[in-house]
Symmetry: C2
Subunit: 274 residues, 2 copies
């Protein structure tokens, strides 16, 4: 069993995939340099599953992941989810001794999660986005300038960096939800959570009609996310998570949702593993 | 009258603010290095208004802008909107002659809008985020390596760059909606579009109840965006745009929305100026 995730060593994705892979006895973990690379590898069966960040409690949805699930020609599905606590830290080279920090680097989500800290403490320091929080730490360790990265603590150990400041994210209860994606379509609606995507006709009240269906069957919608349809400003596709104890009701409701939408896809019905 | 926007010269924000400022006879345009900087300047009355990108038809909402409108302690409001067509181009130094391109740089939205082009043509080239599309072009012009930026055509003129490939965005009808923000609260509901933010109790069906209100008064919801509440995964704040010809109905409906939500704020009622 091969599972892909966003590398290098020391990313939050690595932490998520290490937690997730405990449920398997024989698993090979494979790093990719981008989230897009993980999704491509799943689509093309280079790996069996991919663990990718889906949404963060401060910065919101990861657009590469959600758009991959919604728009890719080859189909991707959600098989499971993993939630981990996220502690961001300001890391510097071990020989740092109060010098001016030239730049601060991290994944865009890392930068966004520490927005308040950066505004209060590094108002005039340039922040640059790199492909992952782990990659940021790696770059700091190899740089000749004094850079800082926003990265997990684990990155400090891996790359021999000093933790200048711990827990710098805007809210102490920062969490990220990762999804486990496969290219196998879901077989049942038995999971705790069920995710769908759909588009409606571009007419007033069309989204309301869909939520009305969930209200009729007492199905709890726990998340709604709108994503642009890309060809025209103001046209959206909706991603929705629902929870329902009565799986017959859920099946009937989704049948009705499918009938009332112009595009509908069941992304998965799954249970949190960690 | 002072209007702030995201610089440097050559950004799409500059194009939007140039269009917008035509409606005034005496206006001073002031550049800021980040969107956050523009919002801060408006909050602190350093400028009278700020023109900031709000959402793009390919990549979706600009999280810095929407979170600034929703969460800032000092209040920001929307006074107007401007929509411009976005054509992204691959720019290189004028002496480029087929050398290997080391890195491609742009604002994260610029990179995301050209995702397909980059995957098809520059699969193994590192993409790096910088603070704006114009800043990307400026860096290319000053770099000793062969970099490329994803930027507006205007940037090529300003920084003396060559256009290696035109219109590289994933969809030819790429548009960005900019909002004009002020720190003055809205005086009426007379605009074509009205924007609100609210949170509901974290109970099943609460969002449905709000959309029900709009359905009762035949008010057309043209956009819904959920943003995380930041302190707990799975809790959201909603941004909604509505359009209603009957302003008395709109007032009555919003009064009811305010009553049924745990937090409510009218962000603005405004008309597109360009």
């Amino acid at each position: 069993m091969k599972v892909g995730y966003l590398g290098p060593n020391g990313t939050f994705s690595e932490q998520a995939v290490l937690n997730y892979s405990k449920i398997y006895s024989d698993v090979e973990l494979i790093q990719f340099p981008t989230i897009r690379g993980v999704l491509d590898a799943v689509e093309n069966s280079i790996v069996d599953e991919g663990v990718v960040p889906f949404e963060n409690s401060i910065e919101g949805v990861v657009t590469t992941t959600i758009d991959g699930l919604i728009f890719d020609d080859k189909k991707l599905y959600i098989k499971s989810e993993v939630v981990i606590g996220i502690s961001q830290n300001l890391l510097v080279r071990s020989d740092y001794n109060g010098e001016k920090i030239e730049r601060i680097i991290s994944h865009p989500q890392g930068i966004a999660q520490c927005d308040k800290f950066l505004r209060e403490n590094f108002k005039d320091t340039l922040c640059e986005a790199v492909s992952s929080t782990g990659e940021g730490a790696r770059i700091v360790s190899e740089s000749r300038e004094f850079l800082a990265s926003i990265s997990p603590k684990r990155s400090a150990e891996i790359y021999g960096l000093k933790i200048l400041k711990e827990n710098i994210q805007d809210d102490s209860s920062n969490q990220t939800r990762f999804v486990v994606v496969t290219n196998e379509s879901p077989k049942s609606l038995l999971g705790d959570k069920t995710s769908i995507v759909f588009t409606t006709d571009h007419k007033p009240g069309e989204l309301y009609k869909i939520l009305d269906i969930f209200a009729i069957w007492d199905i709890n919608m726990t998340k709604i996310e709108s994503r642009p349809m890309k060809h025209k400003l103001g046209t959206y596709c909706f991603f929705i998570d629902v929870e329902a104890e009565n799986k017959d009701d859920l099946r009937d409701a989704l049948k009705m949702v499918e009938r009332k939408t112009s595009f509908f896809r069941l992304l998965g019905s799954y249970t949190r593993v960690y």
